[in-house]
Amino acid sequence: MNWDWEIFFQDPGGQHTTYLEWLMSAWGWTLSVSLLALLLALLMGFMIGTLRTLPKHPGWVLFGTGWTELFRNIPLLLQIFLWYHVIPALVPPLKELSGFVLVVLALGFFTSARISEQVYSGIRALPKGQFYAAQALGMTTWQSYRYVILPRAGRIILPPLVNEMMSIVKNSSVAFAVSVSELTLFALQVQEETARGVEVYLAVTGLYVVSALAINLLMGQIERRVQIPGLVLPGATGGGH
């Protein structure tokens, strides 16, 4: 096998001066799509997952369950096409949105359904007495969630949440389908132009791996930060048993 890494320093012609610069720009798009979709997914996921556990609000519970089942059960690639081709036809103002925004919405909502499921089971895993205790101190339902339920559920679901964050970077590759110039599209185009498929795919693979590792390291730090002293099992009330 003869390598030719020099190719990354060649000029592709067009807006990038080297293939390396193009690669970095593509990595930037991958990370931007992932990061924005993640923010949207966390926001919606925590909101929807919480709604599904609200006592005495069957309407919200139904809405949250519907949302989760809808976005979880349609294949992601199909969701991208739905956002790109179908939804703007039904809601004309959305025609103004770029492929980038539509991908962020699609990936964000898809992932929000998965996060909502985790938030839901995280809240369910808490002993019911915690909610009673918060209420008994005079907290409103919102305050009980804000200061007691969600901080605890968030810690319980941190490990699966890290998986979800790593998945979102991998899943962002579907953006190539609507021509967002991220890593996977870069790989497809450049291997065609240069016929150096091996080098191109290895480089792109390397960047996906680096991104995932970075998330893993960062979240490991956070996990250690928020660990509860003296608490071994999630939900254990300790002492006396």
């Binding site: 007495g129 915690q130 009673y132 205790a133 005079g138 305050q143 002293p229 300790g238 002492g239």
Partner: protein, 245 residues
Amino acid sequence: MIELKQVSKWYGAVQVLNDCSAQIHKGEVVVVCGPSGSGKSTLIKTINALEPIQQGEIWVDSIPLHDPKTNLPKLRSRVGMVFQHFELFPHLSVTENLTLAQVKVLGRSLDEAKKHGLEYLERVGLIAHKDKFPGQLSGGQQQRVAIARALSMDPIVMLFDEPTSALDPEMVGEVLDVMVSLAKEGMTMVVVTHEMGFARKVSNRVIFMDVGGRILEDCSRDEFFGNPDARQPRTREFLDKILHH
């Protein structure tokens, strides 16, 4: 101060409180006992509306809990509650457990809340542990913190739901001591417990509940313990069981 009038509650088709009426006056200590499943926890939870009722009336300090317009969080902030499994917030330090609701619910400043909370922590003998987390304390210590947390809200009444029954025997005493001193200071207390020693020592009245959620006895402590012949057969049976086992 607390009045229950013909309170009934169902879980689905199962009736768990059956026409319960009782009055608790300011400064009174009332012990509630009865067999497992008789509805003691449910009854005590209705007194701060943690459990809704389907029939009857509950008045706390002249506020009607059965009225949908009542601001329940506000009412609950004035009623202290202590649980069987402590229910401290494990992700918060002892001090934060004491101050959270004072700040967020009563609107006290953090300094004020700390000062106030730590006074109560001192009272239950745990000031040295103020920076620890609940998971680093023994069960008895956790329950004493839970009592201090409830007291920090300056409640008009304290509710206890089997506060010692999840504790190792050697830790029961330290929690009961705190409760006895509270009772002696004149705190109004409703205590679900099978600690008949506590009932004998500080209670004014004893309520006995039987399976099906009915209040079978409601009489003064001296009558309850001193006149066994006047008790219902079910009560005598229950007392026999828990007093000589």
